[in-house]
């Protein structure tokens, strides 16, 4: 089974065949991030920056000033946190056409442990003006997300994963940047998920359905700008919103959704937002499934937390 990072390799190869201005920079992780795949099309389009993330971001920004579209790659934990200041000053502020790909994001990075598990990257990137943030759920969606990001001018953060979910999002469901996808309608409870962890949300939704509890399920692949219209529609249709993310509950999808809900006027019914995610703690070494279970992000834990609400 593939992960969303595999979608990156496919997308970059396709993009580089059609567009001579697509370039890829990577910090000694090109085979893991899958960015190296671009060399199968054109070796010159891949630039090895060595283990120097700050240098990579600033270099990429310089390239964009010459009209290039530059994808930069490393593990999500490094490519956001290590070089935040370079991103702030030389990508966000000048609206540079840099696409930051954060690979191996979330707890499912796995055995490398807390130092390598990125659980605050979305929070960091959401705080920057001018940034778009997308989190594809499966490899097929990753290809679409990345190709779309390539043709929209300006800074993108693309959160990718090594969690091998395979494809599970219906291919017929239209993907449009900024527009959340309705996977299934339900009653009372709506699950809003993002990224590969949606696979567990799908399993949870089905398990609940088997017990006669029909919950809705939505894929918010775009976290910034958040699809406010869809959030409002969900508020009007459900009593509870449950956000699920492989990320700290502070600053990520759950916060983005809560921000919209908190700003609604009295014409909207009151909706409670429950945030399922990493509860403001660091992870640890372990297998992806073991970690999701321990940190209450496996399907069973999601089911349990939703049942507690009802």
């Amino acid at each position: 089974m593939d992960a969303t990072r595999d979608g990156l390799g496919i997308a970059l190869k396709d993009l580089s065949e059609k567009d001579p201005d697509i370039f890829v920079l990577d910090c000694d992780l090109g085979r893991s991030t899958r960015a190296y795949a671009i060399t199968e099309v054109n070796e010159n389009r891949f630039i090895e920056m060595g283990i120097a993330e700050q240098d990579m971001i600033s270099t990429a920004s310089g390239m964009t000033s010459m009209g290039k579209t530059v994808f930069v790659n490393s593990f999500a934990v490094f490519v956001t946190g290590r070089c935040f200041d370079q991103i702030r000053q030389q990508v966000a502020l000048p609206k540079a056409n840099v696409k930051i790909c954060g690979s191996s994001a979330g707890l499912t990075q796995g055995y490398d442990g807390a130092t390598h598990q990125s659980i605050v990257d979305v929070a960091i990137m959401r705080s920057l003006p001018n940034f778009n943030i997308v989190v594809p759920a499966d490899p097929n969606q990753a290809v679409k997300v990345i190709k779309e990001a390539a043709v929209i001018d300006g800074p993108f953060y693309i959160r990718l994963s090594r969690y091998n979910t395979g494809n599970f999002i219906d291919e017929n469901l239209e993907y449009e940047f900024g527009k959340a996808q309705e996977i299934v309608k339900g009653e009372k409870v709506a699950i809003i998920g993002t990224g590969p962890i949606l696979k567990n949300c799908v399993a949870a939704q089905q398990e609940l359905a088997d017990k006669g509890i029909k919950v809705g399920l939505y894929n918010f692949h775009t976290i910034k700008p958040i699809d406010e219209d869809k959030v409002k529609e969900i508020v009007n249709s459900y009593e509870h919103i449950v956000t699920v993310e492989e990320h700290n509950v502070i600053g990520g999808l759950g916060t983005a959704v809560s921000d919209v809900v908190a700003g609604l006027d009295n014409s909207y019914s009151h909706s409670q937002v429950t945030k399922i995610g990493v509860q403001d703690c660091f992870g640890e070494s372990g297998g992806p499934e073991e970690l999701l279970k321990k940190y209450n992000l496996d399907a069973k834990s999601i089911v349990r937390q939703i049942k507690d609400l009802l």
Binding site: F23, Q54, T59, G62
Partner: protein, 283 residues
Amino acid sequence: MKIDEKRIRELTKLSWEMRLELLDMFSYGKAHHFGGSLSCMEIISALYFYKMNFKKDNYKALERDRFIMSKGHSVPAQYVGLSMLGIIPHDELKTIKKIGSRLQGHPDVLKTPGIEAPTGSLGQGLSYANGIALAAKEDKINMNIFVMIGDGELQEGQVWEAAMTTSSHKLTNVCVIIDRNKFQSQGNVDELKKISPLDEKFQAFGWETVSIDGHDIKQICNALDLVSPGREKPLAIIADTVKGKGISFMENTYKYHNYSMSKEEYESAREELVEHITNMKKD
């Protein structure tokens, strides 16, 4: 191209006139980065008015030479240069740092014409220059990219990451100029955190170095002329300068790195610069 004596005199005079422009732009009653702006005036005039392919009629052309002020707090000196090139209207200089102005406290590529890189948070200019050079190499565009880095700024680790990138990728159209004025915000650079010896450090990172008097137009131009096609290594010009050059009470001290002048100090500094320029005209 060898610079002749007449041109050397003209550019030297121009550098002093730029100091006066800087002083009038800053005026009194508001803090400005005096020290590092005054120390790099000759280098800016040599770049803009001698070496670079960068003029009012081509400053947006893809193949233009680039000047990146990595020590972004000294951008006022660049604003003066850009106004003398006719790229920024002279009258606009007085709007520096005022609300709504195109002339920000640090370089802003979206707001200010002629500014090439977003800098200010230090250490990032050389990486950005490398990015331009990598793209130019791929597109087979002949152009030079000059990056001015402060000596205190060399304490930033990213500079050295970038120095490795320049030499690893043989980006010999990238040229670094160190404004070696020996003072940073809080004191003497080598006393706060030692960066010497600069020549050996850059050489160890795969660069060729040349050390010059950063206030001597002839030496600056001759060093800049070393940047030409066919080089084996990128060039780092270590320009020995005086922080606060030209306003005697500001020279060789860290205290005027960022400083708000009184009216009396402004008038005395102005008198000194005018006198210096008047004496040059007599020569």
